[in-house]
């Protein structure tokens, strides 16, 4: 057990990925340690979402290899691999024809848990993400606000207690106030539960709040990988460009 626990949770080794002749990821090397929140930062089309999808084998690398818990993704049974990884996307990606309870309890149900145990887990998770189970369990996604849906999305990802969470712009579609409070809560949650997370965003402020390390991506390459503190003082031109937008925003307030 220790042997596995010592290993990095996710490793990218010389990974490249191309889709119909276009290179989307080029020579990516990256290691995600247990318990950290790695934020991939970059503009649209830089390959950060693709990087996420290479982890849970929605995509398979064209070159190099991606390892999860020491094993290459292509040697994992994709179904088992995905059930061990929580996945959160913008707007939650909830199933509109399922109640909130059924959405949250999906992965446990797929894993064949007893209905009673699923029910308890669903209530526990809804409380954890700040939604009253009595009020929300039997509602449908369309009856919830964007922020509430996003909380349900996080609850669903946590349902089967996966060691790893992948989050693709989870707070992108929310208004600034809701976003700020959800970001804080999420940071608390991952620390409390000791989860490892890879989060994708184009918002440098979000990256600075949530990340234990920030990976800056540009045109399919990882430009640098630094702690937030190092990131703030980096003299890399791309980093400076990001930080300038931050100062501009700060000046407005």
């Amino acid at each position: 057990m220790n042997d596995v626990a010592d290993k990095a949770l996710v490793e990218f080794h010389n990974v490249s990925f191309s889709l119909s002749g276009t290179n989307i990821i080029t020579d990516l090397n990256l290691t995600v340690e247990r318990g950290e929140t790695l934020v991939l930062l970059g503009e649209s089309g830089c390959g950060k979402t693709t990087t996420l999808k290479l982890v849970n084998r929605l995509f398979e690398p064209s070159g190099g290899e991606v390892r999860v818990e020491g094993k290459t993704t292509t040697s994992w049974d994709p179904i088992i691999l995905r059930r061990r990884i929580g996945y959160v996307i913008q707007e939650g990606g909830l199933f509109p024809h399922f109640t909130i309870a059924r959405n949250v309890g999906l992965v446990p149900a797929l894993a064949g848990w007893e209905p009673k145990r699923i029910n308890e887990r669903v209530r526990e998770l809804l409380s954890l993400v700040g939604l009253d189970p009595d009020r929300f369990a039997e509602r449908y996604p369309r009856e919830l606000s964007g922020g509430q849906r996003q909380r349900v999305g996080v609850a669903r990802a946590l349902a089967a207690d996966p060691p790893l969470l992948l989050l693709d712009e989870p707070f992108g579609a929310l208004d600034p106030l809701t976003r700020a409070s959800l970001q804080r809560e999420f940071a608390d949650l991952t620390t409390r539960l000791g989860k490892t997370a890879i989060l994708v965003t184009h918002d440098v402020r979000e990256a600075l709040i949530l990340a234990s390390r920030i990976g800056l991506m540009h045109k399919g390459r990882l430009l640098l990988l630094e702690t937030p503190e190092q990131f703030l003082v980096s003299d890399h031109s791309q980093v400076r460009a990001y930080l300038e937008t931050l100062e501009l925003k700060g000046g407005d307030q």
Partner: protein
């Protein structure tokens, strides 16, 4: 007779036609869903199949229904006449909307939702059953709804291949120019279509997940749906038992007829005489075109009334000749050797093509023969039935023989030609010489002075193996030899077409009077 009187008198027949109609549509849609939805799913998985299969289904739907039935008749196993053929055609028509909407529905599922399902660790079949199909269901049900409404309409054509349904009233109404029959058939099928549309609309509304209001919550709607499902299931079972073939030990004869009054009447005569002798009869009346012949050769019909001239030219493809005996002998010999079919003794009357003009035109222009009409033809419009337009001894040969040229030739339903002539829509038509309305509409038959038309003696055609199997057949046919005169036939035709009487009653009375 008013429409309400008509309904009061015929409601039980109308109900049984509605039954047949509903059962045909219900079974056809069921089969189409069972085939169409999985096919649609397959097409979402294999993109390259999408074009060819959707194209094929599309072509299928552009074939006119009557033509499709025609293609199906000679095919083994799925063809023939009756319910099976009708079902095959209906299923083929229903496939396109169902397949297309399944494809559209599944491809229309929000890609984020689908990706989330995959990323949650659902297997391919779990994604399909738990996410894609439920979310596509609204669109799929819309396809089923469209298919059902189309099928209710197309089923009216199924009467032409002897499958029953409301088309029986519509075809009969057209033939007899009877608005009550037409109205009863058309209104009932329209009501059926609307009811199906309404019910499936309710089903469909259960699957709209994106709406703000909770549709699933409406109790009234749920009750209506539950009641509808109950009615469908119970009704389906009852109806199915109603149409399931009844098997009996006694001899069984399938009697057919062509799609005009006289043919149906001659068939009814044999049917009633057989029934009086304890033979159970299956009536496959009012079959279009050469269907009865094809069905008899295929073995699904035992017997139907025919005219020697028609067999001689249209079936055996000989050039018309005018000697009745020679035609009869030739037909009898060739049917025995080619089709194993026996030709009965002539029934005693002829039903030849009658070139008809309005009585006042005939008197005004002193027309007596077809040759008299030749100089006037360039100013006339002619109206001919489909049959006459296409057969060798029909319009092509006829117009050449007399050197006739019309201002315009319209192809129309035979039964409509008489009324079209008397209401001055056309100036000359090719009718039947035994038609009862010739006298009542004051029409004049021009004499065939060049003896172009071959003799059309009425006979029964019957399969040889049927004669061996059911001895009563031979006795009945012997009784009817030379048993009907032209005058009798005209009167019988008129009682049905003119007086709108029930053919079964008319035949019953006639048999009684004749002592058959």
């Amino acid at each position: 007779m008013s429409f309400w009187q008509f309904l009061r008198l015929n409601w039980s027949e109308l109900l049984s036609l509605v039954q047949q109609h509903v059962v045909l549509v219900f079974i056809a849609i069921l089969i189409a869903v069972v085939i169409g939805v999985p096919t649609g799913v397959l097409l979402t998985r294999y993109r390259s199949l999408r074009g060819p299969i959707l194209g094929l289904a599309n072509v299928m739907q552009t074939i006119p229904s009557l033509a499709l039935f025609g293609f199906l008749i000679p095919l083994p196993f799925i063809g023939g006449i009756g319910t099976r053929t009708a079902l095959v055609a209906l299923v083929l028509y229903s496939l396109l909307p169902i397949i297309r909407n399944t494809v559209t529905g599944i491809l229309g599922v929000d890609p984020n939702v689908r990706e989330a399902a995959v990323a949650m660790g659902m297997t391919g079949s779990q994604v399909l059953r738990q996410v894609e199909l439920p979310l596509a269901m609204g669109v799929i049900v819309t396809g089923i709804r469209v298919a059902t409404v189309i099928a209710v309409g197309v089923t009216t054509i199924a009467a032409a291949v002897g499958a029953g349904g409301l088309g029986v009233y519509i075809f009969r109404g057209l033939r007899q120019y009877d608005n009550n029959l037409l109205l009863a058939g058309a209104v009932s099928s329209a009501v059926l279509a609307l009811a199906a549309d309404f019910f499936l609309g309710l089903v469909q509304s259960q699957f709209s997940f994106e709406e703000k209001q909770s549709v699933a919550g409406s109790t009234v709607r749920k009750l209506v749906l539950a009641a509808g499902v109950l009615v469908l299931v119970v009704g389906g079972l009852v109806l199915w038992r109603g149409v399931a073939p009844k098997t009996g030990g006694q001899a069984r004869v399938s009697v057919g007829s062509k799609d005009f009054t006289e043919s149906a009447l001659l068939a009814e005569i044999v049917a009633q005489m057989l029934e009086a002798r304890g033979v159970s009869v299956e009536r496959r009346f009012e079959l279009g075109g050469n269907l009865p012949h094809e069905a008899m050769v295929a073995g699904t019909l035992d017997l139907y009334p025919e005219y020697t001239g028609t067999s001689y030219t249209a079936i055996l493809h000989h050039t018309p000749i005018s000697d009745p005996r020679a035609v009869y002998d030739q037909v009898k010999q060739e049917y025995a050797s080619k089709f194993n079919v026996e030709v009965s003794e002539p029934l005693g009357f002829e039903n030849t093509f009658a070139m008809l003009v309005r009585g006042d035109d005939a008197r005004r222009l002193s027309l007596r023969t077809i040759s008299d009409a030749v100089p006037h033809a360039p100013q006339w419009r002619a109206g001919f039935g489909q049959d006459f337009m296409s057969r060798a001894d029909g319009y092509p040969g006829f117009s050449k023989a007399y050197g006739l040229k019309f201002a315009e030739v319209r192809e129309m339903d035979l039964s409509l030609t008489y009324i079209a002539l008397s209401s001055r829509q056309v100036d000359l038509v090719a009718g039947n010489s035994t038609e009862g309305r010739i006298a009542t509409l004051d029409l004049f038959q021009l004499a065939d002075d060049r003896h172009y038309f071959p003799p059309y003696e009425a006979v029964y055609l019957v399969r040889q193996d049927s004669l061996t199997r059911v001895p009563a057949l031979r006795e009945v046919l012997a009784k009817l030899a030379n048993g009907i005169t032209t005058e009798e036939m005209r009167r019988l035709n008129y009682e049905i077409d003119g007086d709108k009487r029930d053919p079964k009653e008319v035949v019953k009375e006639w048999l009684k009077a004749k002592g058959f």
